[in-house]
């Protein structure tokens, strides 16, 4: 089909590579590809860890596991469309009285002391996280690769923090920094899906929200599959919480995490339905992704040939990921865990 000027009522002509040329020579296609990257980055950055954290929490709490598990699974019960509509019409109300905006503006009303406390706690938490990562980096028993990754993340976080401080200091000198900390919150009412700058973020959030519960199931099962003895041994060796996460939990989940990561990237590139429902690609095409553009080309403009050509190009771009996925999958073996016996 990609080689034809395809017409749905028949009479399609063979046009060679013209569809591909047309697809590639369009500037829009590349812009949308970049935006797709943005979408993938946001959704991976924010959403990938969510199910894992949720699964860990659900595993650790002593009581009410099943109840919470069911609650978090709720979004999967209804069709995805409904969730999106809920967010779009209900939570993303751009008036100051909308649910999310009211919440955001509610922070502004907090007294100075509480606001300052919250800010400082957040700042300290960020500092602590970075410090922990640096500690990991210089730790002798980490593998070099792990050390490099930890170091990079720590460096990025540190740069961010310093940049923030520098920005504040430039705005008002040293008192500017303290002033920024000891003051009320100053959030503005959000435009949500009508804000071209942040629209991608707002599109991603509902997906993460809805995906955390169902996504955590597999991690839950995996966590239950980790033998208790490993934790006990770690305990005996005097490992703290952090060490147990890094040296018992992560290695056990590694294969699963890698596979899911690759899968999430591929899925992110293919995403189009949810964007279509939320914004239809707007405002000003700020949320148009390649997947959606293909869809528009095929079903709105009826350029089936070009659409298919683009799909092929995208498939080729994703081929690397797909191949990686397959290669890893080949190296793995699958087993399933008898969950229920372990919970007792």
């Amino acid at each position: 089909m990609a080689f034809q000027d395809f017409k749905i009522l028949g009479g399609s002509d063979y046009v060679g590579l013209r569809n591909f040329v047309e697809a590639v020579s369009e500037l829009k296609f590349w812009i949308y590809l970049l935006q797709t990257f943005e979408y993938v980055c946001i959704s991976i950055g924010l959403g990938f860890l969510m199910p894992i954290i949720l699964a860990v929490l659900l595993t650790e709490i002593p009581k009410g596991k099943i109840l919470f598990r069911m609650i978090y699974y709720l979004p999967a019960v209804t069709t995805g469309l409904v969730t999106l509509f809920l967010w779009k019409n209900l939570l993303y109300d751009s008036q100051p009285g909308g649910v999310l905006n009211a919440l955001l503006l509610g922070f502004n009303a907090l007294p100075v002391l509480v606001a300052a406390g919250l800010k400082i706690v957040f700042f300290l938490a960020a500092c602590a996280l970075i410090a922990g990562l640096i500690y990991q980096t210089v730790h002798p028993w980490m593998q070099p690769r792990g050390r490099i990754i930890c170091g990079l993340i720590a460096a990025a976080g540190l740069t961010g923090l310093l940049a923030l401080l520098a920005y504040l200091a430039r705005a008002g000198g040293l008192p500017g920094i303290t002033g920024a900390f000891i003051s009320k919150f100053d959030f503005a009412a959000q435009q949500f899906l009508r804000d071209p700058k942040l629209v991608m973020l707002w599109i991603v959030v509902p997906t993460i929200w809805a995906g955390a519960g169902p996504g955590c199931l597999i991690y839950l099962a995996a966590l239950k599959g980790i033998p208790e003895e490993q934790y006990e041994a770690a305990d005996l060796d005097g490992a703290g919480l952090w060490n147990k996460v890094m040296h018992v939990m992560v290695p056990n989940l590694k294969a699963l995490i890698i596979i899911n990561f690759v899968g999430a990237v591929i899925a992110g590139f293919k995403a189009s339905g949810n964007i279509f429902v939320m914004t239809g690609g707007g405002p000003e095409d700020a949320s148009m992704t390649t997947g959606l553009y293909i869809w528009y080309n095929a079903f709105m403009f009826l350029n089936f040939g070009v659409a298919t050509a683009m799909a092929w190009i995208m498939g080729a771009l994703l081929l690397g990921f797909t191949l990686t996925q397959l290669r890893i999958l080949n190296k793995l073996q699958f087993r399933n865990v008898d969950v229920e016996n372990k919970t007792k």
Binding site: I8, L57, T59, E60, I61, P62, R69, M70, I71, Y73, L74, A76, V77, T78, T79, V82, L86, L91, V99, A212, G213, L217, I218, A221, A222, L223, E228, Y231, D235, K244, V245, V248, K254, A255, L256, I266, K270, S272, G291, I294, W295, A298, A307, T308, A311, M314, L319, T322, L326, L329, N330, L332, Q333, F334, R335, N336, V337, D338, V339, E340
Partner: protein, 679 residues
């Protein structure tokens, strides 16, 4: 289980940690539950309050809110006779004297206090009087349908009307015969719309409609309200300085309390009266004083070159041409003093005067301060409040379940959706359970060198956006190449035969090639010619069949892949033992492999269930015949023409099966999850 070690669980640090975890989880759970609770509660609302987005709709607890809901449905339908868009709550505004009511959102519950706080016996007396009036003394021409606004309402008038007709005629054929109609369903016998400026001819249909309105309970009957027309007409005008009407507590004149009496007695000025009578009043309710207008009518006929013998009627004539002339006469040259408007008050006031001997008696019973009977207005608000109090409990209960009932009835009436969905689910589950395991088994048991590539090919299908696959899928189903399908089958059989019988002499690859070449020749040259010669169509359409629904989802690349991995991990000793015992491949498949893989099969079943139950786009494209619609397509259609609340109710109901499946099968789901680990 134990990132947090078992030892030292009671220490404060650990407790704090657990506290934090619970806080986080609770916060998350709140965001999960809130929208869904909202969905559930919204499905108990209706047009009146679905936009409020309250987790507990006000009417659950608050009588005022319930009354508001009821009022919005009890309004007479002005849209029937007066095509003016802003009439949504205008009648209510004149009942309560509230100038700021324009839409349902403007109605504050505290606005209703004037009635809710009224002493019970006064309210009762007013309501009783109006009830008796409507039942016994009100002329039929002023009665109009009420409870007509919303077709999703449980009071929707059409349902009453249909049951009235059923009671009268028994069968639809009879109705069609009498009316000279050919309605296919009861609902197609529409309600009669009385035109604003003309009286309808006395056909059986109109007679039935009027009889129906006449027979309805007074609380379900609306009355023509001239005061409301006056309110609409004078809303934008400035009032003469001498006018002295009802004022609110700030001393501003309440516009919605300006009555027709004020207008007719000239308190608002002649210009306003003229404009009202000439262009805004409804011809159906106007009457002309024949004596006063006689000479003007003669002039009118002469100027307009009409038949001069045409008599002047007091009320609008039935004949369309005459009615047109009559209305035109009023709108142009009829002397103002000859025109007046008929309204229920003309009968209402004498009725009251007969019931209460003096105005003091009436004021005592009503708790009002009228000076004369010709001031007394119709107490609509009190009347409806009284009715409302009588049915309050029942009303609240029916509001709670009404939407669900409607959805259920809708599905039950169109029963094929449920049947199709169930069959579809069963077929898809059966299909997934045979095709995928067989394919995976073949690849797992007989380690072909190519099986890796086959898997790769299967998985590659996942790399394309699903939307793009939709077109080829659709085209293929539209004209399914059954001939080609048969050829492939033939090729496989031939290959099997060759491989079996000539095993010694031909290698696997060779026999495959031979089979392919033979069939290729057959396909490329022989069959098309044959088909052409015998006029056989080599493709059939699968549209609107279960084949179309099931076929595209049968084989699932990822499922096959998972199963293969799973089968691979089974110990080969099992099969060796089976071979030694002389079991055939099929027997080993059914008795060794499948029982060992129950958990993952269960997950695949659940997946198939979810896919079949939720399938929308595909089912929508493929099965356009309503007889083959699945539940989801059906709900989609339902959503197209029903209100938000009903849509929510339908979604809640659609979520029930999936929720049940998860609640009862979550252990199966969890047990069937396969976790990859490095070999």
């Amino acid at each position: 289980m134990s990132l947090v070690s078992q030892v030292g669980r009671k220490s404060w640090g650990v407790r704090l940690l657990f506290g934090g975890m619970y806080a986080l989880l609770l916060l998350g759970a709140l965001t999960m539950v809130y929208p869904f609770l909202l969905m559930v509660t919204m499905s108990t609302t209706n047009r009146a309050d679905c936009q409020e987005f309250r987790i507990i709709p006000r009417y659950w607890l608050d009588d005022g809110a319930l009354f508001k809901k009821y009022l919005l449905e009890a309004m007479p339908s002005w849209s029937q006779i007066h095509a003016q868009a802003d009439l949504t709550v205008t009648p209510l505004a004149t009942w309560f004297g509230m100038d700021h009511w324009f839409t349902t959102f403007d109605i504050k519950i505290s606005d209703l206090d004037s009635i809710i706080k009224m002493p019970r016996e006064n309210c009762r007396a007013r309501a009783r009087d109006l009830w008796d009036f409507i039942r016994n003394a009100c002329p039929a021409e002023f009665k109009m349908p009420a409870f007509i606004v919303d077709s999703d309402s449980m009071f929707f008038i059409q349902d009453d009307y249909v049951s009235f007709l059923k009671g009268k005629y028994g069968s639809l054929e009879e109705v069609n015969r009498v009316y000279g109609d050919n309605a296919a369903t009861w609902d197609e016998i529409g309600m009669v719309i009385e035109p604003a400026h003309r009286a309808l001819a006395d056909t059986p249909r109109v007679r039935d409609w009027r009889g129906f309105i006449e027979k309805r309970a007074p609380e379900r009957t609306g009355l023509f309200d001239a005061d409301m027309l006056v309110y609409v007409a004078t809303r934008g005008l400035s009032l003469p300085s001498g006018y002295n009407g009802s004022r609110d507590k700030n001393g501003i004149i309440v516009r919605s309390l300006i009555t027709y009496d004020d207008l007719a007695t000239g308190k608002l000025g002649t210009n306003v009266l003229m404009k009202f009578m000439r262009s805004q009043a409804l011809g159906r309710y106007l009457s002309v004083d024949i004596v006063k207008a006689e000479s003007a009518w003669k002039d009118y006929l002469r100027v307009n070159k009409c038949d001069e013998q045409m008599p002047l009627k007091e009320r609008v004539p039935q004949d369309e041409y005459l009615a047109g002339r009559w209305n035109h006469f009023i709108a142009t040259v009829c002397p103002l003093e000859a025109i007046s408007m008929r309204r229920p008050e003309d009968a209402w006031r004498p009725f009251l005067a007969g019931r209460y001997k003096s105005i003091e008696d009436l004021n005592k019973a009503w708790g009002s301060d009228y000076r004369a009977f010709n001031e007394v207005r119709l107490p609509y608000a009190a009347f409806h409040y009284d009715v409302f109090l009588g049915i309050k409990k029942e009303l609240r209960r029916s509001y709670l379940v009404h939407n669900f009932k409607t959805v259920f009835n809708f599905i039950a009436i169109h029963g094929s959706a449920l049947r199709v969905t169930v069959i579809y689910i069963i077929l898809l589950i059966a299909g997934t359970l045979t095709i995928n395991p067989l394919a995976a088994y073949a690849m797992s048991r007989f380690r072909l060198q190519e099986s890796h590539h086959i898997l790769l090919f299967l998985l590659a299908t996942m790399a394309f956006p699903g939307e793009v696959l939709m077109i080829p899928n659709f085209l293929q189903i539209k004209s399914f190449p059954i001939g080609a399908f048969g050829l492939v089958l033939a090729a496989m059989l031939l290959f099997y035969f060759l491989f079996r019988s000539l095993r010694r002499r031909l290698s696997l690859l060779l026999s495959a090639t031979v089979a392919l070449v033979l069939v290729g020749c057959l396909a490329g040259w022989f069959v098309p010619r044959l088909a052409e010669h015998f006029q056989i169509n080599t493709s059939v359409t699968l549209m609107n069949t279960f084949w179309a629904l099931v076929l595209p989802g049968l084989a699932n690349g990822y499922g096959i892949f998972l199963l293969k991995g799973f089968f691979d991990s089974l110990p080969p000793e099992l099969y060796e033992a089976g071979l030694i015992d002389g079991a055939s491949e099929m027997r080993m498949f059914w008795q060794i492999t499948i029982p060992l893989c129950k958990p993952i099969m269960a997950v695949m079943v659940l997946g198939a269930f979810g896919a079949a139950y939720g399938a929308f786009m595909h089912a929508f494209l493929i099965c356009q015949d309503p007889q083959m619609w699945t539940l989801m397509v059906f709900l989609y259609e339902f959503q197209q023409n029903h209100s938000v609340s009903l849509v929510m109710a339908s979604l809640v109901m659609a979520a029930v099966p999936t929720l049940l499946v998860f609640v009862f099968c979550q252990n199966i789901i969890l047990r069937g999850i396969v976790i990859p680990t490095f070999k």
